[in-house]
Amino acid sequence: MIAILIAILSLAVLGIPIVLAIDRRARGPLLVGTAFLYGSGTMFVVLLTLSIAHIRWTLLSVTIASLLIFCAAFAVRWKAASSEMSSTTPHALDLVTIFTIVCYTLYATLTAVWEWDFWAIWGLKARTFLELGAIDWRFLESRWNTFAHAGYPLLVPLNYDFVALINGGWNDRWLGLLGIASAVALALVARSLAARETTPFFASLLTLIVVSLGFSRFVGLAEGALIAFGGAGVLFVRSALRDGDDVAWRHAALMLGFAANCKNEGFALLAAVTIAIAAISWKALRKLVPAYVLAAPWLILRTVHTLPTDVAEGPATSRLLARLPYTPQILNYLAQQISRPWFWIAIFAGILIAPAALRRREHFVFVVTATQFLFYLLVYLATPYELHWLVLSSWSRLTAQMAVPITFAVFLMLANSLRDAQDAPHAEAGSDQ
């Protein structure tokens, strides 16, 4: 357990100068939340780079590479211009959030990671790579290992490898804690962003909601990291569009780039965000360049090593066209199988109840969510797998991936509609001054 706690702390410390290089104002929840996420993403980049450079992963090689990045980010930080600081105010309700995190931690650490997909995909890759001290391309390319979904991005397995390097060997007993760290990081980011728009009470309540949605019950899979990076990315774009804030754009692009390195759904999210931004402003699209720069290496490596992507296997277009006439039935089946149906009904009700003016401000999040849903529907139409099985095994995870940004937006619409319009913007910042 000590090893994973040291790993989480190390990732957060590695991320601090990176956050400050991007955002000199970052303090409190924003600094801590983004620091862990940047540390996690940077560790993926470090291990990927070492592997490409044929430098074996050891604690020493990884530490040296990380320190180089740490120092470079620190130097950039000192050159950055100073600007105003953002802050948040604690609330008694935060104690409930802390209690919730404790409960989730107990669940994630009941025993060694137990999910089938952990030991057949995410954990398997991490453990295999650890043996070699690098990404084992022979393993990924082997026709016998297609069950391990060789084409999936590697951020999460490489994070597990970092923990194993600190531990001095493979141990899956406490790896569930990385998912907790991701959920907490996302909640801290959400808290910081919510605090700019609403009262401490509502910001605190929203934090409780985000930590609940951000914690994936599928312990050990890449869902938790994807929800955290993807959720933070979309919320930062939302913030950037609201405030015209360049710093938020930078955070958004990097978070979305890391999300694309968690799962293929991260690529889908990046595409959905791109479409949503294009619908608002073509000029703003260039702000997403860092996201594509981060996503590109794995796409290139996957192509070079001809790693299979299951949805694109065989005649995907034929399958899609063959299932297209059954779209109403598929939609009906998705509606039947949705997890937390009353939660989604409440979200849709919230969209309808909210004042039109507030609803218009959230177009970006609505378009992203709708586009994500459309992409998932297309995947279901084109999948080479048996459709009912795929829906049963994936739909609850996919809806969980979409939940954070839209819940954040709907909650703030409703909460702010209850308050006088003059209090709405920057309420918490005002209360601190």
Binding site: L106, W119, F147, F411, A415, L418
Partner: protein, 145 residues
């Protein structure tokens, strides 16, 4: 209070309750021993000895070795896929080879090409040296014919 305000309050309350309320919040107050036991047993409930056997195989092989897997269930969806995936995890770093395809076709080239054959829960009538035996199975090295 307008109707919209009442609906807004109800909707906010519903979102909070439906998101936060979960059985996981009971975890600190209940005995978790049974839950842990279930989670530990669940993946290997058919063959509880199988992970112990695979740990033994791991101890007696080296990284890079190729190992074919033989278990009582030699049908892909009848248990072989589980045995193969599970072996891949426990024997990470080795090349684990399946002996049947997803369509249950035999893969004799993997049997002949493997350095070792890990046999669990069944006997194997073929000329082979026993490298290690334990936990209802054996690690065999096939003799050249």
């Amino acid at each position: 209070l307008t109707v919209r305000r009442i609906l807004t309050i109800l909707c906010l309350a519903a979102i909070v309750f439906l998101t936060v309320a979960t059985r996981l919040l009971q975890l600190p107050f209940i005995d978790r021993t049974e839950a842990v036991r279930t989670l530990v047993r669940n993946p290997d409930r058919a063959w509880p000895d199988y992970p112990i056997f695979l740990e033994g195989v791991r101890e007696h092989t080296s990284p890079g070795d190729s190992i074919a897997i033989i278990v009582p269930a030699m049908k892909w969806d009848g248990g072989y896929s589980y045995a193969y995936y599970r072996a891949s995890y426990f024997l990470a770093g080795r090349e684990v080879l399946p002996l049947i395809t997803e369509q249950d076709a035999r893969l004799m080239q993997n049997f002949r090409g493997a350095k070792y054959v890990a046999v669990f829960g069944v006997g194997l009538r073929t000329p082979a040296d026993v490298v290690w035996r334990g936990s209802r199975g054996a690690l065999l090295r096939l003799r050249p014919r």
